[in-house]
């Protein structure tokens, strides 16, 4: 099992695995800015880039949970700043629907997060990741995680 440490860090503590969807213009840029600013954060997040938070298909998020995600964040431009007029506003509507779905799946509310992060907010991006990681650590591994998944 060469990949035994694939999810982990040097510490023995359990590290959650979080899927994060970022829009290309703001949040993905914010993730890059965190890098440029060297804002350190736990290596728990796997970012998937889409062009707009409006592209955030509920099927993506449900799939992430079914595959084993301990938490999911989706993130776009601040309201009013959408590169595509109002895709982020449309995303908020999906979010409400998804919140309900998450509960129906038997997952805790805290596992799904929507946050607006602009391209310049590198530090805030790092804080969001760090805080969400802590939050997920508190609620523990996802009950939906298929056995053997890392």
């Amino acid at each position: 099992m060469a990949e035994a440490t694939a999810t982990g860090t040097t510490s023995e503590e359990w590290q959650p695995k979080i899927v994060m969807f970022c829009c290309n213009w703001c949040s993905y840029g914010g993730a890059d800015s965190a890098g440029m600013g060297r804002f350190q954060q736990p290596p728990t997040v796997r970012v998937i880039r889409v062009m707009c938070s409006g592209r955030m298909d509920p099927v993506f998020i449900l799939n992430a949970f079914l595959e084993g995600a301990d938490g999911v964040i989706f993130s776009g431009c601040h309201i009013g700043d959408c590169h595509y007029v109002n895709g982020n506003y449309k995303a908020t509507i999906k979010y409400k629907f998804l919140k309900a779905m998450v509960n129906e799946l038997g997952l805790e509310d805290e596992r799904l997060k929507l946050d607006w992060i602009s391209a310049s907010e590198g530090e805030r991006y790092a804080n969001v990741v760090t805080e969400f990681t802590e939050q997920i650590k508190k609620v523990g591994p996802s009950p939906l995680k298929p056995e053997g998944v890392v």
């Binding site: 099992m1 990949e3 035994a4 440490t5 694939a6 999810t7 982990g8 860090t9 040097t10 590290q15 695995k17 899927v19 290309n24 213009w25 703001c26 993905y28 840029g29 993730a31 890059d32 965190a34 890098g35 440029m36 060297r38 350190q40 954060q41 736990p42 290596p43 796997r46 970012v47 998937i48 889409v50 062009m51 707009c52 409006g54 592209r55 955030m56 298909d57 509920p58 099927v59 993506f60 799939n63 992430a64 595959e67 084993g68 995600a69 431009c77 009013g80 700043d81 590169h83 595509y84 007029v85 895709g87 449309k90 602009s118 391209a119 310049s120 298929p146 053997g148 998944v149 890392v150």
Partner: protein, 655 residues
């Protein structure tokens, strides 16, 4: 070609030690080679360098790759580079996949070698999974309309218009005010040469007016912009001047007879203008404008106008323009100290702003160039200037206004001192920021002239009975509190975004930065490009800067935009929405969801179908998410492509 078995090459960049120093690039490359369809991997020192790209191209040839994955920095800066590299070597640029293991991995997990390495492997696995499903896309292009829109006719916008016009392109120069010229027309002199501002601007204004390719649309506003690079549809509102500008000669007879006196905006509300007025003596176009809100309807102007130009019943006109490229040069405003009564402004008569001082100093201004204090019209002997009013202030704006306000104070103290050597001048400052060419020399001249510089931020401003102003300040160089009594206090107000910038940002879909100004595409290397293809930004719309910088910016937008105009076509993204008519039930949800009008229902009854105007699509994918039948897909971000990434975040332990 679409059914070809994927042959994927994975190139892992060390980026010097930027990646190589914080995670095990060789382990990542070795791991990649274990993934399905990966037939070649290589670690490059710098993948983006000529040598790195040569290695990619050699890999493509040697291993007959049809897909390439690069794990390095960020697609936001380097995707075009690698796409072009792939294309040259025969791999479709849309079958290139970027994995971000620097900005989003090595740089943010600098103390966790194993964690970073494991994450990089995950990210590469996700990228390879997506790569496997990527389809080749055609790069198409759209024609570029040869007309140009320049929004804002300050010095940056005028310069852009002149350059475009001289090249032979037809330019619409839209200015919301009644004359072109912008802020610079109101300055008395410009630093560091102390040139008379309107004297050097006037010829440029006339040059604009005379340029046969420039259509000046003054007293007009851009209210809507549709379309896309090369093909923008612009709506311009021509506000009524209530006179026929073809007939008006700008003789000024109307303003002579108008009985309504109002504060003159051009003179910063010192002095008056009439309800019908010529904006200022050098205005272009030299036409009157009637301020209907304040008109009392006496019709004196109509009687006085020998040309018969007055039209009380004029209506706003909305005009549609088609343009290929746009320069946005909407400029800035001066910080307004009134709402917070900064430094007693608005409370004490003898506290004025820099811009007000400019008009008082100006020979053509309301006082004929005599700087007088408002309370009693006496010429002041002791004058103070406070820098950074509204700038470098956590309660107002954090940013510095480009050193512009420092230079205004230095120039104005110097000019008044030269004009009236009996005067004394104090400049209260935090840092003197005389950075650009000739500025430091101007600062030295002011010192030599005897202008006193006190380093400190005033803590209290009080008014004496005789109207004098007392500035209480800690002189931080002497380490003592001093009280300086002044006849007149001038606030060196900073530069803030133009009041219309928020609306303009929305109309053009341009983001704004934390400082409120429009955001450039890249703060260093693409300073006049924007995130919207075909739209460029010049001058203070993209942050405070001085006249020379704004002028160069204007020319720079012409340089950048002409790349599109001169070739006559612009590439468009392949990541547009496509429809599967077999699945579509013509419910019309997409029609409503799309902000760009990509979709239209055509035909009737049984023949109804959705028509997709691909050139209008900007590739957000929102419609796909909304489509209830799955008939819509976004190329390059198809559901299965994104889901492949989602699924490959994880793996079974024994896999």
């Amino acid at each position: 070609m679409e059914n070809e078995e994927p042959r994927i090459g994975v190139f892992v960049c060390e980026c010097g030690v930027n990646i190589g120093g914080y995670l095990d690039t060789q382990a990542v490359a070795d791991y990649a080679l274990t993934l399905p369809n990966v037939v070649h991997t290589k670690v490059n020192k710098f993948t983006c360098a000529d040598s790195g790209q040569a290695e990619i191209q050699a890999g493509i040839k040697e291993h007959n790759l049809n897909r390439v994955v690069v794990a390095s920095c960020t697609p936001r800066t380097h995707e075009p580079t690698f796409r072009a590299c792939c294309k040259e070597a025969g791999v479709n640029p849309y079958q290139f996949e970027f994995v971000n293991i620097r900005d989003q991995c090595s740089w943010i997990h600098m103390w966790d070698w194993e964690g970073a390495t494991a994450k990089a492997k995950d990210l590469v696995r996700m990228g390879v999974a997506r790569s496997r499903l990527l389809e080749p896309l055609d790069e198409s292009s759209v024609p570029v309309d040869q007309n140009v829109l320049v929004i804002g006719a300050g010095v940056a916008g005028m310069q852009a218009a002149i350059d475009f016009g001289d090249m032979g392109y037809n330019v619409y120069l839209v200015e919301k005010g009644p004359s072109i010229g912008g802020r610079m027309a109101r300055f008395d002199k410009v630093f560091p040469t102390n040139d008379c501002s309107i004297c050097i601007l006037g010829p440029k204004m006339v040059e604009v007016a005379r340029n046969k390719n420039i259509n000046i649309m003054s007293y007009s506003e851009v209210t809507d912009v549709d379309g896309f690079v090369g093909n923008f549809e612009v709506t311009v509102l021509h506000k009524p001047r209530y006179l026929d500008t073809d007939i008006c000669t700008g003789c000024g007879a109307c303003q002579e007879v108008c009985p309504v006196e109002l504060p003159s905006e051009f003179n910063e509300n010192f002095g008056i203008r009439k309800a019908i007025y010529i904006p200022f003596p050098q205005a272009v176009p030299m036409r009157a404008v009637l301020d209907k809100d304040n008109c009392i309807g006496c019709k004196a102007c109509e009687k006085a106008c020998e040309a018969g130009a007055i039209r009380y019943d004029q209506e706003p006109i909305y005009e549609k323009l088609k343009v290929g490229v746009i320069t946005v040069a909407v400029g800035m405003d001066a910080f307004d100290p009134l709402p917070h009564n900064n430094y007693g402004y608005g409370l004490y008569d003898n506290v004025i702003t820099t811009m007000e001082f400019e008009r008082l100093l100006n020979a053509a201004g309301p006082t004929g160039g005599h700087v007088v204090r408002p309370s009693d019209a006496v010429e002041p002997i002791t004058v103070g200037f406070i820098n950074c009013v509204g700038s470098r202030d956590v309660n107002e704006n954090i940013y510095c206004s480009g050193g512009v306000c420092c230079m205004f104070s230095i120039k104005n103290a110097q000019l008044l001192k030269e004009k009236r050597p009996e005067t004394n001048h104090y400049i209260f400052y935090m840092d003197i920021r005389s950075t650009m060419r000739g500025f430091e020399e101007a600062y030295n001249r002011a010192r030599d002239l005897g202008v006193k510089f006190i380093r400190g931020k005033p803590v209290e401003i009080t008014e004496k009975e005789n109207g004098n102003i007392v500035v209480r300040v800690e002189d931080t160089l002497k380490g003592e509190i001093v009280n300086v009594e002044l006849d007149l206090l001038v606030l060196g107000t900073g530069l803030v975004p133009n009041e219309g910038i928020s609306e303009m940002g929305s109309i053009l879909k341009l983001p704004r930065s934390a400082d409120g100004f429009l955001t450039e595409l890249h703060p260093k290397l693409a300073p006049v490009d924007t995130t919207t293809d075909g739209v460029f930004v010049a001058g203070c719309a993209a942050g405070p800067r001085d006249i020379a910088y704004a002028t160069a910016h204007g020319s720079a937008t012409a340089g950048r935009a002409t790349r599109l105009l001169s070739v006559g076509s612009a590439p468009i993204m392949g990541i547009t929405a496509r429809i599967d008519e077999d699945k579509c039930v013509v419910c019309g949800v997409c029609v409503d969801k799309c902000p760009y009008g990509v979709f239209e229902i055509v035909g009737t009854n049984g023949d109804r179908r959705i028509n997709v105007v691909e050139a209008l699509c900007k590739g957000c994918g929102t419609c796909v998410t909304a489509c209830p039948t799955g008939a819509l897909e976004q190329s390059h971000f198809k559901n299965d492509q994104v889901l492949a990434q989602v699924r490959n975040v994880f793996q079974y332990g024994g896999e």
